[in-house]
């Protein structure tokens, strides 16, 4: 049996983690959710995740700093940024620093699942097509 894709999800808005975790569980991912970037980085220091999904703008440490930290520690990890309105300057900066992809709030869980599937493909660990084509999440 293949090992589940391991994902760290970081957003200081609790609703994002609460809503996304079940949606990602459905496609067979193992998800750890964090609201505090410092705690997330401490966890990243302990463990190599396949994918990190992080908000770009947070108190204490922004998504770009999280991205830089991951790239030093685990260069294989794919980082996906969640952006909001009027954050295009930060998004451009992240693009130059090698972020895998972006997703802008508000978004549907399916939108993120598609990006995660692309990242999994890039890692050489594609997600089971049957799981991806399942019933759309009802939130």
């Amino acid at each position: 049996m293949t090992k589940s894709l391991e994902i760290l999800l970081l957003d200081d808005e609790p609703i994002v983690g609460r809503r996304l975790k079940p949606a990602l569980d459905k496609i067979g991912c193992q998800v750890e959710i964090f609201e505090n970037p410092l705690e997330a980085v401490a966890r990243i220091d302990q463990k190599e995740f396949d994918i990190v999904v992080t908000d770009i703008r947070m108190e204490g440490m922004d998504g770009i700093q999280v991205l830089e930290h991951i790239q030093k520690k685990w260069p294989r990890t794919k980082v996906i940024m969640i952006t909001g309105y009027a954050k295009m300057d930060l998004a451009r900066e992240a693009m130059g620093k090698g972020v895998f992809d972006f997703i802008a709030k508000p978004f549907r869980p399916d939108d993120l699942r598609r990006i995660i599937a692309n990242a999994a493909e890039a890692l050489g660990r594609p997600i089971d097509a049957a799981l991806l084509s399942g019933e759309p999440d009802k939130g």
């Binding site: 808005e13 809503r19 508000p106 869980p109 993120l112 939130g139």
Partner: protein, 329 residues
């Protein structure tokens, strides 16, 4: 309004002209278009919020607060335009606007949820962000809410004031103005005004309506009968019953008939996301039979508002042809 059009409008305002009334008519028409643009943006905001609430979207508090802030900003622009068009309503409109600003601030702060005031029921959602959006939508256009308290109801009131403010520029005065300004079309019983050029200088000779490079007017007249018609487009010896103010992609068509309240505004630029048709008609006009399917019709005590947004080039062409047939036979 594009920067170019804004510059043109500013220039028009500054010019001292020997025919100021035509210029005033053009400026009023352009301002009304601006008013409609803001109204349209308001409808888009409401629709966006509704889509996010009904769909499976993931959003945070920032989205909802931005939505509420954007609504208040646009509402302020609408009220400003309305006060330019109907200055006598300024005090009342700004008082209404202030009430909605307060309601919005209360919604965001959570002090006194504007969305719940007077509500017979609201679903209590477990996520505060989703509850805030639900409350915001209830404030915007809650079906169970006391009608006068919603933003949509206030927008209708604003429309009423604008329509009332524009109408007193009565047909008789306009006829006199147009008759002395060489704007009567030679091929149809229309007054036809080039919104930008005629505001600077009235035409030296009369022109044909069909000769104008105005996309929506061409669609509207495609199947229209140039002879005598039921609404008076034909017979060139009689006074025109319509005035069409045009640019290449815009048309503002107004009835001058005392017994027919009708105003059509449209943009047919080929950009589906911008193009629209808006109609105001008196209560006696049967819009259901005049308009093709797809129009949203709102009936109010002072008349009917109808609109269709996000129209493809083909749809807008078909719709205007349909309306032209209905109006002009």
């Amino acid at each position: 309004m594009s920067i170019l059009n804004k510059l043109k409008l500013d220039k028009l305002k500054k010019i001292t002209h020997r025919e100021p009334e035509i210029r005033d008519f053009c400026i009023q028409t352009i301002r009304f278009k601006k008013f409609l643009e803001n109204a349209r943006a308001m409808l888009d905001l409401i629709e966006d919020g509704r889509e996010k609430a009904l769909g499976e979207y993931i959003f945070d508090r920032h989205y909802v607060v931005s939505l509420i802030d954007s609504v208040i900003e646009r509402l302020g622009m609408m009220v400003y335009d309305a006060c330019v068009l109907a200055p006598q309503s300024g005090v009342e409109l700004y008082a209404g606007y202030d009430r909605h600003k307060l309601a919005a601030a209360n919604l965001i702060s959570g002090k006194s949820p504007a969305g719940k005031t007077g509500a017979s029921e609201t679903v209590t959602l477990t996520e505060p962000e989703y509850q805030l959006l639900s409350d915001a939508l209830f404030w915007l256009n809650g079906k169970d809410r006391a009608d006068a308290e919603t933003v949509m109801a206030f927008m209708k009131q604003v429309f009423f004031h604008v329509i009332q403010g524009i109408e007193p520029t009565d047909a008789a005065k306009n006829r006199l103005l147009f008759d002395t300004s060489n704007v009567k079309a030679t091929d149809m019983n229309f007054y036809i005004i080039d919104l930008w050029k005629d505001a600077l200088a009235p035409p030296e000779k009369k022109r044909t309506a069909r000769g104008f490079n105005c996309v929506p007017l061409k669609h509207l007249l495609m199947d229209a009968d140039c002879g005598e018609s039921k609404t008076g487009t034909g017979n060139s010896s009689s006074d025109p019953d319509w005035v069409a103010a045009v640019t290449e992609y815009q048309l503002s068509l107004n009835s001058l008939k005392p017994d027919l309240e009708f105003r059509l505004e449209t943009l047919a630029s080929g950009d589906a996301q911008s193009d629209f048709i808006f109609i105001f008609a008196g209560k006696s006009t049967n819009l259901d039979s005049l308009l093709p399917a797809g129009f949203h019709i709102e009936k109010a005590h002072y008349g009917q508002l109808a609109w269709d947004l996000d129209l493809s080039a083909k749809t807008i062409e078909d719709s205007l042809m349909n309306i032209g047939r209905g109006l002009f036979g």
